[in-house]
């Protein structure tokens, strides 16, 4: 019988001597393109894109359950705040990039729907002396255009995430004003000057070339359009930061293993949060892409931040 057991005890990631490491690093760099990070590992850009694709392919089914467990449901509040900040009016055209399972898109639709309802109610109230025909016509209007021509395009690079998103939409009863597009944030499949609002919620951290994604965001927005980014950021309060680190590194991978059977993807998640640029740096990057009036709002003491900018 083949005795292919576990090999002799040898640490797989032993520290190599400096010179050899430098040589290997150079060889790797030449072979595989510019180096970047995957969590706390060093990888090439292409490798990083593949690894991230696999992470989200693995977690797609349990994505929403995990979000609720890890943030104790608080992620819903963060996303609500984002859409309230956006304050979309009926007729807005939104592209939600890395929108995966549709959280932002569904909130957008709900918001616009309620704004529209209120609009129609106000209109009715103002004209107290309407004839029956006019009243029934306004009901028709409400039925035909419940969203008032608003539309949201959910764009994601990962097929599994889009699949889960579509299933959720069907389950929750969202159909109108919603479309699903497979696309890469670094190279969007849309024309210039198309959208009123561009959002990317908990997605930009997973983009390999953030500068390219920001340039694309600028390109596809109409003049006057708004860029909104919701992402994990740096906590300034030192005590909270320690607790947050402890929770992130000790509890979250354990939750990943228990709930999703996948430790490594959630280890990647917490590492990638640490590697992401802090608030001010991201603000500068957004300004570099050409946006004006760039500002950010910290949520939960900086665990999460919303960055906003305008294309003028």
């Amino acid at each position: 019988m083949a005795a292919a057991g576990l090999g002799p005890a040898r640490p797989l990631l032993a520290r190599r001597p400096g010179a050899l490491r430098a040589l290997l690093g150079l060889a790797r760099g030449l072979a595989a393109g510019p180096q970047t990070h995957f969590g706390f590992q060093n990888v090439s850009e292409e490798e990083r894109r593949e690894k991230i694709y696999q992470v989200f392919e693995n977690v797609a089914e349990k994505y929403d359950v995990m979000n609720d467990s890890m943030t104790l449901g608080i992620h819903r509040v963060w996303k609500d705040i984002l859409v309230h900040k956006m304050n979309p009016s009926p007729g807005t055209l939104l592209v939600d990039v890395a929108g995966g399972t549709g959280d932002i898109a569904f909130r957008f639709i709900n918001y616009v729907r309620s704004v529209r309802e209120r609009q129609l109610q106000q209109k009715l109230k103002r004209h107290q002396n309407l004839s029956w025909q006019e009243i029934s016509k306004s009901y028709e209007e409400e039925k035909v255009k419940p969203l008032g021509d608003s539309q949201v395009v959910v764009c994601d690079i990962n097929k599994e995430m889009l699949k889960v998103g579509k299933q959720r939409a069907q389950h929750l009863g969202y159909s109108e004003g919603l479309s699903w597009v497979l696309g890469n944030a670094e190279e969007l499949p849309f024309d210039d000057d198309k959208f009123d609002v561009y959002t990317i919620a908990f997605g930009i951290r997973n983009v390999t070339r953030i500068d390219l994604a920001l340039q694309e965001a600028y390109r596809v927005l109409k003049p006057g359009g708004r860029f909104l980014c919701l992402e994990f950021s740096q906590v300034s309060n030192p005590l909270l930061s320690r607790l947050y680190d402890l929770y992130s590194f000790q509890v979250i991978p354990v939750l990943g293993e228990i709930i999703a059977g996948d430790w490594k993807s959630y280890q990647y998640l917490v590492e990638s949060i640490r590697r992401f640029p802090p608030q001010e740096e991201l603000k500068e990057m957004i300004e570099d892409a050409g946006f004006f009036k760039v500002d950010y709002q910290n949520l939960s003491s900086g665990i999460v931040a919303i960055h906003s900018g305008f294309k003028l």
């Binding site: 090999g7 005890a9 490491r21 690093g25 430790w263």
Partner: protein, 278 residues
């Protein structure tokens, strides 16, 4: 120095320097400097609490192990079909039982050989055709019959992830792979009742907390009739056999396919199973 202390405590200590995480260069895809690589490895070591010791090893801090043990116990209770949770529970709670099992193996000639040669029971290493061709009543034939009747495969065993010693990881892996052979030797099918009986036997044999918990909590999902059979006939037999038998990990099963099940039972010390339908 603080880093060493943190590593000993098993708690990650991340530097809170502004220049540390999230360098602009990384996000913009610039090639990394050597100095960055060095910091990378250090941070990784601190964050994970150690280096991986074998393929698939995930080093964990004591706190993480405790959380994993509690979480996997709850998950396995809620859904007994989550074998991965049972596996994790076994790994995180086995810190006392596994070394004693390993020592039992070391002090026995056949067990010692197993530890040296590290055989693995997998479909790729088993010659299924040959085993099927063996006469009825031999270990090989009955094992294959068990696999086919219950529609299980030896390849679905989870590899060890959270055991922090490479040899102990093999011991628990061997225990998992030998589990199906236990079913064969005890004559128990893979339904809930059969699994509980095997767990009782294994609990007495190995002392693994996961087996003890499984033996204690497994029966909650059984109806009254099955519980009665379990309590009056099967469990006493399983405990007696477990006590009487020599260590089941000290048998090189791969070299005994031709041996008859009855003679192997006698050799190990497993008492004949009671005549009940499980």
């Amino acid at each position: 120095m603080l880093r060493r202390a943190a590593a000993v405590l098993g708690v990650p200590l991340l530097r809170a320097t502004p220049g540390g995480p999230g360098r602009a260069g990384l996000s913009r895809g610039r090639p990394r400097e050597e100095e960055d690589e060095e910091e990378e490895e250090e941070v990784m070591m601190e964050a994970e609490g150690g280096f991986p010791l074998y393929p698939g090893h995930i080093p964990t801090s004591p706190l993480q192990k405790a959380l994993l043990a509690a979480g996997s116990a709850l998950a396995a209770l809620r859904d007994p079909y989550r074998h991965d949770m049972v596996a994790v529970l076994g790994e995180t709670t086995g810190c006392l039982a596994l070394p004693s099992l390993r020592d039992k193996m070391r002090h026995h000639p056949e067990g010692y050989r197993i530890l040296q040669e590290r055989p693995r029971i997998r479909l790729s290493t088993l010659d299924m055709e040959r085993l099927r061709g063996l006469p009825d009543g031999t270990l090989g034939r009955e094992y294959v019959r068990f696999l086919e009747d219950n529609k299980v495969s030896p390849d679905t065993r989870m590899p060890a992830k959270f055991v922090d010693d490479e040899e102990l990881a093999y011991v628990i892996q061997r225990y998992r792979e030998v589990h199906d052979l236990m079913h064969t030797l005890l004559g128990m099918p893979t339904n809930m009742l059969g699994e509980v009986v095997v767990k009782w036997f294994e609990a007495v044999q190995t002392g693994l907390p996961m087996c003890i918990l499984g033996a204690a909590f497994g029966p909650v999902r059984l109806n009254a009739r099955k519980l009665q059979v379990l309590a009056t006939e099967l469990v006493p037999w399983a405990i007696r056999s477990g006590r009487n038998a020599s260590c089941i990990l000290n048998v090189y099963y791969e070299q005994r396919w031709e041996q008859s099940v009855e003679s192997l039972r006698e050799e190990i010390g497993i008492l004949p199973p009671p005549a009940v339908r499980v």
